[in-house]
């Protein structure tokens, strides 16, 4: 060899490609997959598929498997990875073990508490009780700021976790969890409040909302009275969630600041409103979407030039019962985000009907026809085209890929805009989000807020980057995750 480098043999090349594709497929799926029903596949097939994928990657690429925790994947898959890593036991290599441990601890602290406690219960039920598991649970419990609050809110789960690792608890907390009936009163105010609330209807309003809710039923407090009084104790997410039920209860209005909600959550909320309500509150909702998009962009900056989006509002964007309207909401949120991030922006909704003045007045119906909107978008000559769709193109099938390929080969040549397909839906049969074709790279998308990360990841799914680059990318993200302030 002239350049002194040893050329990889064909066998090695094949191996490299195989590994790269496996890992990319896995990370890609981890953005979108959950153990839930989707429009086209049911819960059973999705869960079998995603669990197989986890096991396969864990056994073959353990290092990359652990590092995926830092790739910005969704909570469900983070939880799954942590469970599998703990179940598999610590690796022998010290360096790898340290890194894994740090990743697990950091990821746990970033997960919502309910998911973490659910994970602990799962560990207990599956009798995973190695030394590392005990250490992980112990350090997490020690890290929580208000153990009494957790003990009240996640009572059974907290008890299960504490018992599982034989944790030495604070004396009152231990009594509260394990021998509550024998205890007359507590000195910790929150625990005492909880004890009192068992007997007095007036005492429940100091407790967290979800705990108070069940006690309110026990004391037979009317719903409207309860909602009015508990309002200061509700979190922003709880307020958002309860907007529609509160509207059905007479005389209650839960004050909610729309600007506090995340972009995709807000889009979901808007789509859950009736068409007439949406139209009546149009300006307010539009402003809230804009504010949410701006907030998401300050957290993860992104600036783009001319951007065109092709947004799928076909019937399958209604999602499933568990994920009602989710694909449509992601498309709506993505549109709001990219509109703010781009200097020039155009959205092409498909199927195209009479254009509404506000995007959120849309609803999902009709077929998935992506070819014509792509033609329109290409004619506008943008720098970047983002397609948000579940990938089940059916009018006609596989045409959008052909259009993209022929345009690149025959018309656009080097000036062809970059086309990225973002898919919020996991396809269980192919272990990855459904692809539109070989020309268009497909990435999984959980929330529209993740688009800046996802755009960075898209070059790997396009197949142009090598495994080394992917490893570097992951290592970089791991580094960033571990060395940012570990709160």
């Amino acid at each position: 060899m002239t350049d002194g480098k040893v050329q990889p043999t064909e066998r090695e090349q094949l191996r490299e490609r195989c590994e790269r594709e496996d890992v990319i497929m896995f990370i890609n799926s981890c953005f979108a997959a959950t153990r839930q029903n989707e429009y086209y596949t049911d819960l059973y097939r999705t869960s079998v598929s995603i669990e197989f994928l986890h096991r396969y990657v864990l056994i073959n690429y353990r290092l990359l498997y652990a590092r995926t925790l830092a790739a910005g994947i969704n909570h469900f898959n983070q939880q799954q990875i942590i469970f599998n890593l703990l179940e598999a036991g610590a690796p022998a290599d010290t360096k790898q073990r340290t890194e894994e441990g740090a990743l697990i601890a950091t990821a746990l602290r970033k997960l919502p508490a309910n998911r973490v406690y659910a994970l602990f219960v799962r560990l207990q039920q599956n009798r995973v009780n190695n030394r590392r598991t005990r250490a992980v649970i112990k350090s997490y419990l020690a890290w929580r700021r208000e153990p009494e609050f957790d003990a009240i809110k996640y009572r059974n789960k907290y008890r299960a976790a504490a018992a599982h690792i034989h944790s030495r608890l604070d004396e009152e907390l231990g009594l509260f969890l394990f021998e509550r009936s024998s205890q007359k009163s507590f000195t910790t105010p929150l625990l005492n409040q909880y004890r009192q609330a068992q007997y007095s209807a007036a005492a429940i309003y100091e407790l967290p909302f979800t705990v108070a809710e069940s006690l309110a039923q026990k004391h037979q407090i009317p719903r409207d009275v309860f909602l009015k009084k508990i309002e200061p104790k509700m979190t922003a997410a709880e307020k958002l969630r309860l907007q529609s039920t509160a509207a059905r209860t007479k005389g209650v209005e839960i004050e909610f600041d729309l600007s506090r909600a995340g972009l995709t959550k807000l889009a979901l909320y808007i789509l859950s409103l009736k068409q007439s309500q949406r139209a009546a509150r149009a300006d307010e909702l539009q402003a809230a979407l804009k504010a949410a998009a701006d907030k998401a962009l300050t957290r993860a900056p992104l600036s783009l030039g001319r951007v065109a989006t092709i947004l799928d509002r076909s019937r399958s964007a209604t999602g499933s019962r568990e994920k009602r309207n989710r694909p449509l909401a992601v498309a709506l949120a993505a549109s709001s985000l990219l509109r703010r991030a781009a200097t020039e922006y155009r959205a092409f909704w498909t199927p195209a009907w009479g254009e509404n003045s506000f995007e959120f007045l849309t609803h999902a119906a009709g077929q998935t026809a992506l070819a014509e909107p792509l033609l329109d978008a290409l004619e506008w000559r943008p720098d970047l085209i983002v397609i948000v769709s579940d990938g089940y193109e059916n009018d006609p099938p596989q045409l959008v890929d052909q259009v993209a390929r022929v345009y690149r080969d025959a018309i656009g040549k080097t000036e062809t805009p970059e086309i990225v397909h973002m898919n919020p839906v996991f396809d269980a049969d192919h272990y990855a989000p459904h692809r539109l074709g070989a020309t268009i790279p497909t990435v999984g998308l959980r929330d529209a807020e993740d688009i800046p990360i996802i755009l960075g990841f898209a070059k790997f799914t396009a197949g142009t980057a090598t495994l080394d680059e992917l490893e570097q990318y992951l290592a970089l993200r791991v580094n960033r995750m571990l060395n940012s302030d570990g709160t």
Partner: protein, 401 residues
């Protein structure tokens, strides 16, 4: 069934999709659904569904004949004579309490419920017709040579001469039994101006369903599941694979500009339509025997049957046709192979004046073979016992040589 020639010539000679286009199909598992789109929607004929909850329905056809079937629903057709929009009002009002309605009487027999109706088709108002979908054509199919032999040849049994082929029965499979159909209908994305669907199971045409208005289609989409299908399609459903099917790709050599690319996309779209037309060539464009059933203002309700060729697909069905020949309603049923065989044999026999020898000669087989075929097809009761015994013993003897 006597073939009445209609006085007017606006009946269908062939089933053609005039004014309709086929959009690219949507596939789930072995089921392929092809949307049928209508460019110009006229509002003067509307269809609605009236569900029945009884296990069985009996319909009196004439004084001597009755038709028994499981009937999930009836269709109500509303039309106007002058082309103004018809509103399908009033059909929503159903009385559940009284058992006696304009649709006959519902009986609760304890072990099952039954509905007895006077007519297959009943005019309920000046411009409203109630009819039982598919049963209209199924009745016509069953009535095929119902009367049995016209000439009393000596081979025929006394029962055949006395009662004809009564009772003739056919068994069908509900759509729910076809694997994958329910899911395919659920996830199917209905087009905005879609008025119908062609249903393929294992890429064989199972049924065609077309109505006149997109709103009606959206409401009636799910009735495809309660429809009947031939038992053959049940097996097709079991063994069918998901088939990829694509017309020619975009030809990159012919594309120089955006305009070329658009033309090519349009070309691929029209290729899809042609492809689906080709796939249903045993129904579309085939000569059919038709029979006028009911005249409803500017429309005709008619039933039809493709030529009963046992080697190809055969469909029976019914349609509502506008005076100018536009297809406003179409529903077809693919006969299973056994059903085709039965109808084919009967028709051949009737065409040879019920003479077994003449028929055998026509079908180039021996008389014994023909009788054997009839027996296998389920028409053994046509013949005298001694005739059948003779055939059997002949075959037994032959098998030793």
């Amino acid at each position: 069934m006597e073939r009445k020639q209609p006085k007017t010539t606006d009946c269908l000679e062939t089933i053609s999709l005039k004014g309709l286009t086929l959009a690219p199909s949507q596939v789930l598992g072995g089921v392929r659904l092809v949307p049928v789109l209508r460019k110009q929607v006229r509002e003067d004929l509307r269809l609605t569904k009236r569900p029945y909850y009884e296990d069985i329905a009996a319909v009196q056809i004439d004084n001597k004949t009755a038709y028994y079937s499981y009937i999930p629903h009836a269709f109500i057709a509303d039309w106007t004579n002058d082309g103004s929009p018809a509103v399908a009002y009033g059909t929503q009002i159903r009385s559940n309490k009284s058992t006696k309605t304009s649709d006959g009487t519902a009986h609760d027999l304890g072990f099952m419920t039954a509905r007895v109706m006077k007519k297959m088709r009943a005019r309920e108002d000046r411009n409203r017709l109630r009819f039982l979908p598919m049963d209209v054509s199924m009745e016509g199919f069953l009535a095929l040579h119902f009367g049995g032999p016209d000439i009393i040849w000596e081979e025929y049994s006394r029962k055949a001469i006395r009662d004809g082929l009564s009772p003739r029965s056919e068994t069908t499979i509900p759509g729910r039994w076809i694997k994958g159909l329910e899911d395919a209908l659920r996830v199917f994305e209905i087009h905005t101006n879609q008025v119908g669907s062609l249903v393929f199971v294992g890429d064989a045409l199972a049924s065609a369903f077309i109505v006149s208005h997109p709103d009606d289609y959206r409401a009636l989409h799910e009735t495809l599941l309660t429809d009947d299908y031939g038992e053959l399609l049940y097996y097709y459903g079991l063994y069918a694979q998901e088939n990829g099917l694509n017309p020619d790709e975009i030809d990159a050599d012919r594309v120089q500009s955006m305009k070329d690319l658009r033309t090519e996309v349009a070309r691929v779209r029209s290729d899809w339509s042609q492809l689906h037309t080709l796939m249903s060539d045993n129904l579309l464009g085939c000569p059919v025997r038709y029979e006028m059933v009911y005249r409803m203002g500017p429309f005709h309700l008619q039933r039809f049957m493709t030529e009963l060729n046992p080697k190809t697909e055969n469909h029976i069905g019914e349609s509502i046709v506008r005076k100018n020949g536009t297809l406003e309603y179409l529903k077809t049923y693919r006969l299973s192979a056994a059903q085709c065989r039965r109808a084919y044999l009967l028709m051949q026999l009737a065409d040879s004046n019920w003479s077994l020898d003449a028929c055998a000669e026509k079908l180039t087989c021996t008389r014994n073979e023909l009788i054997f075929r009839f027996e296998k097809a389920g028409f053994g009761y046509l013949f005298h016992r001694h005739v059948l015994e003779e055939v059997r013993s002949e075959f037994r003897k032959q098998s030793w040589h």
